[in-house]
Subunit: 220 residues, 2 copies
DNA sequence: ATTTTTTTTTAGATTTACCTAAAAATAAAA
DNA sequence: TTTTATTTTTAGGTAAATCTAAAAAAAAAT
């Protein structure tokens, strides 16, 4: 059984590994809001316990054991987020910090019952997939809104930024999960995107467009 | 804000204070499953922070601040227990350990929403009262079953022992909350009690009878 | 191929919550 | 009122997770 802190490290390493197979000390430090020296200490411990493979100065990769442990925490995190939104009427921008604590509650039974209570949801309030009890989940490959061409359309199915500020903005713009959108134009000058959503035309910055994930239903 | 450990100490001191105004170091150590020396350390810290009044060798009493903090944790513990039983179909003997962890999740909003979601319950699965958001709750004064006389009757409204073994036994005997009982006889030899419950006559030991709380509806 | 910059690791401390063993205070028994 | 037993505290130490400052390695720039 892992400590709170170990679990947080594992989860962060898992997420970082999605973009770079070898996860760097500094990257972990930044995510954990701690110092690289502390990360080195913890990395050694995780390697000791068989959660990561570690070569000095070369960063870490999760072992099978480490990956399973990480996925288990991700599963808990996302299930709790669904609970907070579906049952306790939290907004999608309010759930992260609380789920960050709830994910560490240690009870197999609890999480299986919760899963059942929620109706075995497949994705969390941000569109991220929820691993099943065996750690399996569909690898979703969405397109970033920014990568669509003029005329393309699709459904908003995820976000790649979970900050409250960003999520609140999307809420205000009506860019929530499930909404249909269509690219009307891309502004030459600043690369901002004109999109059509719910029959209204709005303009969003490149920065925003980068973090909206679309399940594309092809060109039009 | 208090640490996990501080919260557990406060809660235990609060419960111990129900039977003896001055709570002893050894008593705390026993409940916390730790050593008296460790308790002395923690007591000093809690006194430092203003949660307890402490006189060397004389044990501790909770300050107003300490009492409020303790009641807040009790509230969370009991609300989570209700959630586990009412929503996730846990048995009353399965909830304690999980609630012991859940009670430390820090979010005012979470607990208010949970309270609402559960319909503002007044008591937990063991009959213990749930403080409202201001820390107020009805002081319940039940009679121990063991103190009833032959012919007396009443409703089971609580237990003063939360061990899984005890609760499972009650479940098996059909002695669950809300059940009507009546004292038919007290055995001279061993003090065991003959009671009538759901039209069946059963015999329970003194030890069991001591921990069942009855809201007496008077003599027969 | 050097120099400079960035990344990572070590060395040495600190804090929190523990522990054991021994001393001190209090309470109970003789 | 001594003596004995119990309770509580001190003294000194450990393990986990952190920190700062400085050294070492690797990567990038010149
Ligand atoms: Mn976390
Ligand atoms: Mn999420
Ligand atoms: Mn607890
Ligand atoms: Mn309870």
């Amino acid at each position: 059984m892992q400590s709170f802190t170990e679990e947080n490290y594992l989860k962060i390493i898992y997420h970082l590994a999605e973009s770079s197979s070898n996860v760097q000390t500094n990257a972990i430090a930044e995510q954990m809001q701690t110092k690289p020296a502390s990360v080195t200490d913890m990395i050694k411990k995780l390697a000791e316990k068989g959660y990561v493979d570690y070569v000095k100065y070369q960063g870490v990769t999760l072992t099978e054991k480490g990956k399973n442990a990480a996925i288990d925490i991700v599963r808990k995190h996302r299930l709790w987020e669904v609970f907070l939104v579906d049952k306790l009427n939290f907004k999608w921008d309010e759930v992260h910090d609380v789920a960050e604590e709830l994910e560490h509650i240690k009870s197999e039974t609890l999480i299986e019952r919760l899963d059942e209570f929620l109706g075995f949801p497949k994705s969390d309030p941000h569109g991220d997939p929820i691993p099943d009890k065996n750690g399996r989940f569909a690898k979703t490959h969405f397109t970033k809104l920014i990568d669509l061409k003029v005329g393309d359309g699709g459904t908003i199915t995820g976000v790649s930024q979970h900050s409250s500020a960003f999520l609140k903005l999307l809420e205000k713009l009506g860019l929530t999960l499930g909404k249909q959108i269509k690219i009307n134009d891309v502004t030459d000058f600043d690369g901002s995107v004109e999109i059509l959503v719910a029959d209204k035309q709005i303009n969003i910055s490149r920065e925003v467009a980068k973090h909206i994930l679309i399940s594309s239903n092809g060109k039009n």
